[in-house]
């Protein structure tokens, strides 16, 4: 399996106005045995080093999960898979703790979405808002992980929270996805129904189509960044926004 992936994190207009950097981050890794790992983090606007927090959380979670899965036996049961995802969140939090001194950990507050797809299974973990939408081989779209919300639209639980362990949601499916999209909360109101959680298919269609045919990941990522910075998107959200799209090309 040869996965294709592209993604972009773009600063929101409210962050431009207040001089804040883009505090979203994303990353992906292909596994040697034909799997793919994806991560998206959204640093909290209230945390002064949230941009660093988001970047470190993405890198540490991907490092940890990659190391575990490369060393793991090919056949894993669901509990073992869920355990590996949880451990990657723990590793991401530990990386923030190690790098924080002398600053308080909360300065690095960030959400974290992590998805893994292998030839045998799919797993998704989440702390905070944003969401993961998967596309199954039959073309059906499903929201695999929903935004975790507090009472207020601008508040969520970060990885640095004392109750992060209790808030972590991990789900495992015994089948591989055909494609998936991870996105931060800046985009969630545009692409999923916030009452039902249902994915809005006409949002995802062009991004999934871009995975087929001749593919240039860097150029596609640049076009995605231009879309995320467009006036049309900025009229709907002033927050940072990240979209990471990955999948297997359709057979020619």
């Amino acid at each position: 399996m040869t996965w294709r992936a592209y993604g972009a994190s773009v600063r929101g207009t409210s962050h431009q106005r207040s001089g804040l950097p883009c505090q979203d981050a994303h990353g992906w890794r292909a596994l040697p045995a034909g799997g793919l790992l994806c991560a998206v983090a959204d640093g909290l606007g209230s945390a002064p080093r949230a941009d660093e927090g988001a970047q470190r959380a993405v890198a540490a979670a991907l490092d940890a999960l990659e190391a575990t899965l490369v060393a793991a036996p090919a056949a894993l049961d669901e509990a073992a898979i869920a355990g590996h995802l949880s451990a990657a969140f723990t590793a991401a939090r530990a990386a923030l703790e190690r790098g924080a001194d002398p600053n308080p950990l909360r300065d690095y507050a960030t959400t974290l979405l992590l998805a893994a797809v292998t030839p045998a299974w799919t797993a998704v973990g989440q702390i905070g808002d944003g969401a993961v939408v998967g596309c199954w081989p039959d073309g059906r779209l499903e929201t695999l992980s929903l935004p975790q919300r507090g009472e207020y639209a601008n508040e969520t639980t970060p990885l640095t929270s004392p109750d992060a362990d209790a808030r972590l949601q991990v789900r495992v499916w015994p089948a591989p996805l055909h494609a998936l999209a991870l996105f931060s909360d800046g985009l969630q109101g545009l692409c999923i129904n916030l009452s039902t959680g249902a994915p809005f298919e006409r949002f995802f269609a062009p991004f999934l189509r871009a995975l087929s045919g001749p593919f240039d990941g860097d150029a596609t990522s640049e076009r995605l960044a231009a879309f995320l910075a467009s006036a049309r998107v900025c009229a709907r959200t002033d927050d940072d926004k990240t979209l990471l799209v990955a999948g297997l090309p359709d057979p020619a």
Binding site: R149, Y152, A153, N154, E155, G189, L190, C191, I192, N193, L194, S195, F200, R202, F203, F204, A205, P206, F207, R209, A210, S212, G213, P214, R223, L224, A226, F227, S230, R232, A235, R236, T237, D238
Partner: protein
């Protein structure tokens, strides 16, 4: 194949999240003259600032409580793009406590309306503007 990402459609069924904002304004007799003039100009400036921000126009909901003689709701919640600043007049003493007491009830009631209608809301704001002679 180069797909056009601008073809992506947005889910328009999600209502804009709202941000209730209560202005607690001193309209007592001690605000006579320059202070009430400045306050009224400030309301216009506030409306103009909201009006310049496309998202704030749709998200901020303004209510005004005045306290001059008695505490009263001068403007119930209205979305920023519908907000017409009133010209406030001064009267009586300064029942600030009564005004402050009104704000949480207003906000709780607004939050309830939002929840009933499946509308998300940001943490509400309350601004108190008064006058104290040095």
């Amino acid at each position: 194949m180069s797909t056009d990402f601008d073809a992506a459609e947005f889910d328009d069924s999600n209502p804009e999240p709202r941000c209730p904002c209560v202005l607690l304004l001193d309209t007592s007799a001690s605000m006579d003259g320059e202070p009430i003039k400045a306050l009224n100009e400030g309301l216009v400036a506030f409306r103009d600032d909201l009006d310049r921000d496309k998202l704030a126009r749709l998200r901020v909901e303004v209510a005004i409580v005045t306290f001059g003689g008695r505490a009263a709701l001068a403007q119930d919640f209205v979305t920023a793009d519908q907000f017409q600043p009133p010209t406030l007049k001064t009267a009586g003493d300064t029942p600030m406590g009564g005004g402050i007491n009104l704000a949480p009830d207003l906000i709780e009631s607004r939050k309830k309306t939002c929840r009933t209608n499946g509308v998300r809301y940001f943490r509400p704001w309350v601004f108190l503007i008064g006058w104290a002679k040095a």
